[in-house]
């Protein structure tokens, strides 16, 4: 137990101080458990990711939002900051409108995708370029081809819808959606790393808790400090001691000398 107490201690059931350094030492002593746990969790994470999680693919396009219809007469050559600001708030509006039911459903119909609105909604997400008039639209699905097709469908019908809803604006596609070559999620590496860290945390927690709960006597100094009673004799474990009887490791070479003189002293 990592107890420590003031010397000459009284018999209160006092709270024990938890010696952090001693705890770390114990964790280090059990480092093999931590390593094994890390490996086991990592392997489990790997298989879980590979086998149980279906990969998804993301196709995306970028749209530029303008608060002026293409080719109108007024102020064609000047872009004022007021215009820009208005366009930026418009961008947020557009992002929401793109995710609305009419657009999603029409685009789905266009490519023959038969899924309910809830699913369609779950595939599409947007983000806004910071302080820009750019909307990024992401379509994330299980099949790369369908993801691209759906993204393309949305890109083709969204500008018209938006121009009808918000008059005096236009939307242009900046980047077309492509068929993704690599999967979007899950990331095997990331999951394995997370699993490994989780394994380490679990192992360390287990070691620490077990150590804190272990109230056996394990250290002489701790024992005598705790009770204020000296340890006046230490008897080594018999098996260990006899394994190296008359061992030169003991007593710094004192052993040999003592042995012979002891024999003389004791009849």
């Amino acid at each position: 137990m990592v107890f420590s107490k003031q010397p000459g201690g009284q018999q209160e059931q006092a709270e024990a101080e938890i010696d952090l350094l001693a705890l770390l030492k114990v964790v280090w002593q059990h480092k093999w458990l931590v390593i094994v746990a890390a490996v086991v969790f990592a392997v489990a994470g790997f298989f879980y990711t590979k086998i149980l999680i279906e990969p998804t693919y993301r196709s995306s396009f970028t749209a530029f939002v303008n608060n002026r219809r293409e080719g109108t007469a007024d102020d064609v050559n000047a872009i004022s900051s007021g215009d820009t600001n208005a366009a930026q708030s418009l961008t947020y509006t557009y992002a929401e409108i793109i995710k609305s039911a009419p657009i999603l459903e029409e685009a789905a119909q266009k490519i023959g995708l038969e899924e309910d609105l809830g699913s369609l909604r779950s595939y599409v997400s947007t983000s806004i370029g910071d302080r820009t008039q750019l909307v990024y639209v992401y379509v994330t699905m299980n099949s790369p081809q369908i993801a691209q097709a759906y993204a393309e469908a949305i890109a083709s019908i969204a500008p018209n819808h938006l121009e009808e809803i918000v008059e005096g604006t236009s939307m242009k596609i900046v980047a077309d959606p492509k068929v993704p070559t690599a999967k979007f999620s899950p990331s095997t590496k990331k999951n394995v790393l997370i699993a490994m860290l989780l394994g380490i945390v679990v192992a360390v927690a287990f070691i620490v808790i077990r150590e804190l709960l272990d109230t056996r006597v394990k250290d002489q100094k701790e024992l005598s400090d705790y009770f204020g009673v000296p340890v006046i004799g230490t008897i080594p474990n018999f098996e260990h001691a006899t394994a190296s009887s008359y061992g030169g490791k003991y007593g710094y070479g004192y052993g040999q000398k003592q042995k012979s003189s002891a024999k003389k002293g004791e009849k």
């Binding site: 340890v231 004799g233 230490t234 474990n237 394994a243 042995k259």
Partner: protein, 254 residues
């Protein structure tokens, strides 16, 4: 030491292991040295002068109390002192088994008036100690130990021996150990490395202090250094909580 597989023999093997733990000149040097140091420390911490009654107890069974009582007695015997070892664990006397000597008549018989002291005392020439074994297991050990007969017996024995080592039952098991606090000059509490629980030790110390017993110190039993098969950590501790170094104590015992 071959270990047989039958369960009946494993008990025999355990007894054999127990006997191998008895201190003697054939014991390994670390063991001998450990008891030399312990003996010296006991001599130095016993209060005052005169005859010495040392009570050996522990928190729980199997902490190594009886073995250590025996070995402490033998260690004093090695100094050619007159030593008596009394097995006071009347409910579970074990010293006679370790030494392979008759267990009765013994203390309980003497206290009950069913045997004389002379009949019950055994002189063990090879160990250089006298032994008063536990005797027949009595129905009420506490009553016997509490009786005036016990006190009279101890006082009588003090006249004949320089050291009386008493193997007491574990304190948390029964109150026998505490009952004798009047006659015991000093208590040794045996604690076993990585086995004894702090709470049990705490109860033990508390009871002994409550009875105003004089605690000489702990015997830290069964110590093995971490990660060291050959226990060289023992050398580092010097087996002594008092810091009586090897060099110093060697002079004392020679």
């Amino acid at each position: 030491m071959a270990t047989k597989k039958k369960s009946a023999s494993s008990a025999a093997a355990q007894r054999r292991r127990q006997r191998n733990r008895i201190l003697s000149e054939k014991s390994s040097w670390p063991i001998q040295e450990a008891y030399r140091v312990l003996r010296t420390n006991i001599q130095f911490t016993l209060p005052g002068e005169g005859n010495r009654v040392i009570g050996v107890t522990s928190a729980f069974q199997h902490d190594g109390k009886s073995t250590n009582s025996l070995n402490v007695a033998i260690s004093f015997g090695q100094l050619d002192k007159k030593v008596l070892l009394i097995d006071c664990d009347l409910r579970k006397p074990s010293i006679d088994g370790m030494l392979k000597v008759p267990g009765k008549p013994g203390l309980s018989d003497v206290l009950a008036g069913m045997a004389t002291l002379e009949e019950s005392l055994q002189h063990l020439e090879d160990r250089k100690i006298d032994l008063l074994p536990g005797g027949r297991i009595p129905p009420d050990a506490t009553m016997l130990l509490q009786s005036s007969a016990m006190k009279k017996l101890i006082n009588r024995l003090k006249g004949s021996y320089e050291y009386i080592i008493i193997d007491l039952p574990p304190v948390t098991a029964v109150t026998d150990a505490v009952i004798l606090s009047e006659v015991v000059d000093g208590y040794l509490v045996v604690v076993r490395h990585k086995v004894t629980d702090y709470r049990a030790v705490s109860d033990t110390i508390e009871q002994l202090r409550f009875a105003e017993g004089n605690i000489l110190g702990f015997i830290y039993n069964d110590y093995a250094a971490e990660g060291s098969k050959y226990g060289y950590g023992y050398g580092g501790y010097g087996g002594s909580g008092y810091g009586y170094g090897y060099g110093h104590e060697a002079k004392q015992t020679e």
